[in-house]
């Protein structure tokens, strides 16, 4: 850890950390450009810096966006990014009642507390988990990745079949390109760019960046921001009394949901809100401006960012789309995330972890005094803003490999993402499956080679069996109420008939 501070406190790394959290906050403030698109966009700019500085900056964008996202939720009722959707419910109502200041203040303090505890948790849990990861073979990796995908589809909104379908399609997309075991090309249609597979960045920028713009431009594009002066950013004692336990609960929920592949900031903020509402003495007041409804979810989404780094840094498995891009960034810089990372590159591991702590301090300093500036940025009309967002996506995608084909893939996935949203399909399972697909395929085929084709290998080994059984339980769980409901419907129909 001392080594981590030595690395993170180097002037260059401090600067990159600052740039990361500043851009992250800006990205969080601006609706329509999330951390996934922003990290993808800025990935090529890190090619000229050291791997440690690159990861510090890219990680800063991620947790910075979580901070910034709350500002738009509270002031405009438009979440800057998905993890701040819940903050709209009570944060905006607080703003309407003239309490935008305490809402923004508790959001910043809650984020700081949770982010800090999340980093401490990461420091404590990651090294022993990395040791455990050394014992993992192909069946354990396959089962763990299956569990990650299952959790994501289980927690996704809408019918589970849609989420599973998206995950399966993501697995197929992951198969495009060179077969890593046999060296044979698949589904490349003689396009050279596809021999390395469909790039994650074009897909993510299309699904989340371009499609979001397409959805926004078909609406009126008007938004109102409070003209009243924002005051009393420092919450008073009553505010603190109503917030401190939601912050602590949100931190625990966010951290552990963040650790699970497929969990993450969005889900943890919803779970935290649900928990606060459930245990509150006044659940009926949620949605009318309860400070606990802001403090809990904001803490949860920030703690989740710390937790999400654990599977990436210790097992090499990204927990969400942002971590998937960070995985790609590390590999571009010659690092292989996984159990050996802590031993082989302690400077990167501890430097990145401690920089998150410093980044949290920077964010607290940035967010409170600069709220006025963020509000001014929010006043930039969307008709002026969206061409710039599109241009950033185009340049970011092109500059990855100077490839027009990849830009075309991005635009095509923008259209696909737009249709997905119209037909209520979620993009997140697709992205996670696209990232995990090649790793899952390798683990599956190696496991079957090891067992001479016996699929029971996944159930004969204890860790793999435990992970697989949880996946099976989660997959089977929705069928139970469906069967009950079905049984209830049939007699009713029979009676009516």
């Amino acid at each position: 850890m001392v080594m981590g501070f030595q690395v993170a406190l180097q002037p260059g790394n401090l600067l990159f950390c600052f740039i990361g959290v500043l851009i992250g906050t800006l990205v969080g403030v601006l609706p329509g450009l999330g951390p996934v698109a922003a990290i993808s966009l800025l990935l090529p700019t890190t090619f000229h810096v050291t791997p440690v500085s690159a990861i510090i900056m890219l990680a800063g964008i991620y947790y910075g966006a979580m901070y910034g996202g709350s500002t738009t939720s509270i002031l405009v009722n438009i979440p800057g990014e998905a993890a701040s959707v819940v903050t709209c419910l009570d944060g905006y109502q607080m703003a309407r009642q003239g309490r935008a200041g305490p809402a923004l203040g508790i959001s910043a303090f809650g984020s700081f507390i949770a982010g800090t505890i999340g980093v401490l948790g990461l420091m404590l849990i990651a090294p022993p988990l990395a040791e455990m990861g050394l014992k993992f073979g192909p069946p354990e990796y396959f089962s763990l990745m299956t569990l990650g995908l299952t959790i994501l589809t289980f927690l996704a909104g809408g019918p589970m079949w849609k989420a599973l379908l998206m995950a399966a399609f993501g697995l197929f997309l992951g198969c495009i390109g060179m077969d890593t075991l046999m060296g044979a090309p698949r589904f490349t249609w003689d396009i050279i760019e596809l021999s390395d597979g469909i790039g994650l960045v074009p897909v993510v920028m299309g699904l989340f960046g371009i499609s979001e713009v397409l959805l926004n431009v078909e609406q009126s594009m008007e938004r109102s921001i409070f003209d009243t002066k924002i005051k009393n950013l420092l919450p008073d004692l009553k505010d603190w009394a109503g917030s401190i336990f939601p912050i602590l609960r949100g931190t625990v929920i966010g951290f552990f949901l963040g650790v699970l592949p497929g969990g993450g900031a969005v889900i943890s903020s919803f779970v935290s809100y649900a928990v606060e509402k459930k245990i509150s003495k006044y659940p009926e007041k949620f949605g009318t401006g309860m400070i606990a409804g802001v403090a809990g979810p904001e803490a949860a989404n920030n703690a989740a960012t710390g937790g999400a780094f654990i599977p990436l840094l210790t097992l090499g498995i990204p927990a969400n789309a942002v971590m998937a891009i960070l995985l790609g960034a590390m590999m571009i810089h010659g690092m292989q995330p996984g159990p050996m990372l802590v031993k082989e590159h302690p400077d990167l591991f501890w430097g990145a972890v401690t920089s998150m702590y410093l980044g949290n301090v920077m964010l607290l300093v940035l967010n409170l005094p600069l709220i006025g500036l963020w509000v001014k940025i929010l006043r930039v009309p969307y008709p002026i803003l969206f061409p710039l967002i599109l241009l950033f996506c185009l340049i970011g995608c092109y500059s990855l490999n100077n490839s027009i084909i990849e830009v075309s893939i991005m635009v095509i996935f923008g259209l696909i993402g737009y249709l997905f949203k119209k037909f209520e399909y979620e993009g997140a399972p697709l992205v996670l499956a696209l990232v995990l697909g090649p790793m899952m395929e390798t683990a599956l085929r190696r496991s079957l080679l090891l067992s001479a084709g016996d699929p029971m290998i996944f159930l004969n080994r204890p860790i793999s069996a435990a992970l697989m059984l949880v996946s099976i339980f989660l997959l089977a769980y929705p069928l139970v109420p469906w069967l009950r409901k079905k049984r209830a419907i049939v007699p009713k129909e029979e009676n009516e008939g």
């Binding site: 849609k162 379908l165 399609f169 044979a184 431009v217 923008g414 259209l415 697909g437």
Partner: protein, 154 residues
């Protein structure tokens, strides 16, 4: 279209996609369970898509019987705006190499500013020229992004 709901239509499309994937995967070697081949995983993914889209089709049909019909997702929206944006994006892709980054970007920004929610000509001109110059300065000169140059050398 009114005879079916959104889930039925989308699940049917997915089923067709799954069949195409499975048939295409058969062109590669599927191998055996003891030594899976190149086509094994895509075939498995295709089968999974087929299974879940079939579940979706059944689910959609049950909901149709319960009275859930087609939900028009474009009603009340300015659906022509996304079309304009998409057209501009594809035009940018086709024109980027022949025209070069700066000119193509200026035209792209100017077109979007003028058409999607029409701005004054001054805003369109200033916005497109400043954005093209600014992004050229940041990405080409500062970040060395190697953007395409047109016949004019920029």
């Amino acid at each position: 279209m009114e005879r079916f709901n959104n889930d039925q239509v989308s699940a049917a499309i997915w089923l067709a996609v799954a069949i195409i994937i499975c048939l295409s995967a058969l062109r590669y070697d599927l191998g055996a369970l003891a030594s899976p081949g190149t086509g094994f995983m895509p075939f498995l993914a295709g089968l999974a898509i087929a299974l879940f889209s079939f579940i979706g089709l059944v689910h959609g049909t049950l909901r149709r019987k319960q009275g859930v019909g087609w939900k028009p997702s474009m009603r009340g929206l300015k659906w022509e705006k996304p079309l304009i944006v998409l057209a501009a994006l594809f035009a940018y892709i086709f024109l980027l190499t022949p025209l070069g980054f700066s000119l193509c970007t200026a035209l792209f920004i100017g077109f979007l500013l003028r058409t999607v929610k029409p701005q004054k000509w001054f805003v369109v001109m200033a916005g497109s020229i400043l954005t093209a110059l600014g992004s050229y300065g940041v990405f080409e000169l500062w970040l060395k992004a190697q953007l395409p140059k047109g016949p004019w050398g920029f």
